[in-house]
Symmetry: C2
Subunit: 191 residues, 2 copies
DNA sequence: CCGTCAATATACCGATCTGTATAGTGAGCG
DNA sequence: CGCTCACTATACAGATCGGTATATTGACGG
């Protein structure tokens, strides 16, 4: 990845997230990156590919960001669930309040053949697997319900945060998640 | 609202929801509606206004649809909460699996001055008020937590449904909502 | 019967869109 | 030295974008 390509990815990431994918043209991306369109097309080949690389980069950053938060959290599964919500809040503090970039991109990309599609669904599947794995540590026979429930709270928190319909939805979701995992943990301990 | 304007609104609603707002041009809307662009601009004045009217129409239809489901539900608040999730599933069965049209539109409209903005946030505020009112009937002193919790589950269910990351997220959300309202009702009864 | 009005058909405007073509510059490297 | 390669500058192509102009038709109501 050449320096110019990195600047394109940085500019595209900022502009796509803040204004939406279809609302941002390649001329603007190139100008903001301080790069000619020729260079952009030499490196990426098409706008579609810039979009896909933007989402893949964002996915990679989020997984690393979350990984650092999980590494700093206590080893107990319940605490790690809460660490996911803490990471989500810290991420949105850093990266802006427009909700989940994957969900926003999915709203603009209807074609399932678009190269961005597997990246979006891949991240969501990965997050569901993470929640389900943590749920299995807390209540092995209830993971099929607890995992999706945590996923729903997480997705709901991100979209509610983006819509700004009520204050601090991620904190609300974290509290609900805490109640769910403690209840599931207590029920598993009684068995 | 003239017959041609109604056809424009029908075509715009279908195309905007299926393909996204920026991906659909006014020429296509006019062609699909069997209407000339002149007529479209005589009736709506701008594409922005077509977008706003599309969302206002969708909002109105959803509230009426939900109202019919609530009218058919038992009067108990807990049952009415579940009826909201049942309505969401029936709605998505009828109107397509691409998630919430308001959330998708919000992902494409970054400008807060866009005429569609108050319609989107208005529907979400209305839904939160509905959930909070129902929560207050179930547990008067816990409505400030139960209402947003139900909202998070509902929003999460819609986005998860759109992303199709796991099967039947609305049913999952309904089950979680049932657990929440029964727990809150039991706690309120013990006091 | 005449004016209003919703609608048609068609052509056009300037701007912007993604993408390409041509020519040239400068640094690193064998 | 000479080749490669990342990059710049500029211009352009063809399509589509939102929006407008002109002229016409047909129905309906006072």
């Amino acid at each position: 990845m050449t320096p110019a390509a990195l600047r394109v990815l940085e500019a595209a990431g900022r502009l796509f997230y803040e204004r939406g994918i279809h609302a941002v043209g390649v001329d603007l991306i190139a100008a903001e990156a301080g790069v000619t369109k020729k260079t952009l097309y030499d490196r990426f080949g098409s706008k579609e590919q810039v979009v896909a690389d933007y989402l893949a980069d964002r996915d990679e950053r989020w997984r690393a960001f979350l990984g650092r938060h999980l590494a700093a959290a206590p080893p107990a599964a319940a605490a790690r669930v809460l660490a996911v919500f803490d990471a989500a809040r810290a991420w949105s503090d850093e990266h802006g309040p427009r909700g989940c970039g994957m969900v926003n991109a999915h709203a603009e990309i209807s074609d399932p053949a678009h190269p961005a599609h597997p990246i979006i669904t891949g991240q969501k599947r990965w997050m569901l697997a993470l929640f389900t794995d943590l749920a299995a540590e807390i209540a092995p026979d209830g993971a099929g319900r607890l995992g999706p429930a945590l996923m729903l709270l997480h997705e709901g928190a991100l979209v509610a945060h983006g819509l700004a319909v009520f204050p601090d939805p991620i904190r609300h979701a974290r509290e609900q998640a805490r109640a769910l995992v403690t209840a599931a943990g207590d029920a598993a301990a009684r068995r």
